[in-house]
Symmetry: C2
Subunit: 221 residues, 2 copies
């Protein structure tokens, strides 16, 4: 009709953007259909209900928008290098949402914050594999740590990263927009990596200026 794609595919794309932007409740299937010049009955015809459309959108999101780094990228180098790569990759996804208009990340993180029945699949298919990789890296640093401690360590890493997504608007209001803008991917990767490496004893503690003390910057990058 208005595009080469099928109506079902166009609906799924529009639904993803709408759900990501407004959330499940506030997104209306009429507006979704209007976007792609489809009839509002098309949703129930192709997907059965609004809820199933949402589930399909979440699955599509984590299918398209969350390509994992190859396994090799996490096994090469020192644990410090592995952790830095992980944080950089993860932060990249977290910060990407605000700038680009890819709805995939936004929808996944919305699902994390306010879980729906779709979250079970999301955890199993997308989140747990990544989490296990991080735990694997941390196990390399703390081989004697019990599972509970490893989980807490992993939560400390992802918690610091996700904060810039979860509390973005509040943080921006808190410290001012001009300062918040300078907290870009490179700066935050350096900061969070240094913070975690110092805590884990893989790097010296932060100095009086809060900066990392690195004798050979190349060694951990």
């Amino acid at each position: 009709m208005s595009s080469g794609e099928t109506t079902k595919a166009r609906l799924l794309e529009a639904a993803g953007e709408e759900f990501a932007a407004k959330g499940y409740e506030k997104a209306s299937i009429r507006k979704i259909c209007d976007r792609v010049n489809a009839n509002c009955a098309a949703v129930n015809y192709h997907f059965g209900s609004k809820e199933q459309l949402y589930v399909e959108a979440v699955l599509e999101a984590h299918r398209c928008g969350t390509e994992m780094l190859p396994e090799s990228a996490f096994q090469e180098g020192t644990p410090a290098q592995q952790l830095r790569r992980y944080i950089h990759h993860f932060l990249g996804h977290v910060l990407a949402i605000s700038h680009e208009n890819t709805w995939h990340q936004a929808l996944m993180l919305r699902e994390m914050i306010q879980p729906t029945p779709a979250s079970e699949v999301l955890v199993r298919e997308a989140i747990r594999p990544r989490f296990e990789r991080l735990v694997g890296i941390l196990r390399g640093v703390c081989p004697e740590a019990e599972p509970r401690k490893l989980s807490a360590l992993a939560f400390s890493v992802v918690g610091q990263c996700l904060h810039y997504r979860v509390a973005r608007s509040i943080s921006e209001r808190l410290v001012g927009a001009e300062l918040y803008e300078t907290l870009d991917l490179d700066f935050l990767t350096d900061h969070i990596t240094s913070f975690c490496l110092a805590a884990l004893g893989l790097a010296p503690p932060l100095n009086l200026a809060g900066e990392a003390v690195v004798n050979d910057p190349v060694s951990i990058r």
Copy 2:
């Protein structure tokens, strides 16, 4: 009528619980009024609109549910002790939500994650004062740090804490309910405090078991 309190007060209380549990959109003023045996027109009579009722509920929340520690508690002791007190106090609020049925914290954190026009007041009156205290503590540790670095450090602290509220249900599904239950206030306070103190050089790095290395445990408590 059904209680000693006025209809307006009962409405505000019920609205807080309902907004905290379901969010602004999904909460309906009819159900709020039914809870306290009030007519649904009472909301518009006493508060003007649903939105103003929500604003009043948010203000009531941060008025009742967020008593700050006295200023002295943050000025006494070493920076390490101050930081530990801050994390313990903050984590206590974060974790309290799930167990007790105080809606105040839940509503405030909901406002943090999905800000509404009420968030400006919330930041000014409740969040910023606490944040400035944390920044003050961190400035004591890193006196030469620029504002940007201090903000990032503060976000690292609160990000680790808030994660256990924001991503609670997902994390619970991720590591299993039985393990997640063991992540209680005492354990997480110890963990996050040790993690941050080690990163800041106020304590030795975590050992191979991910545990804090403390010669004199009393000294940092």
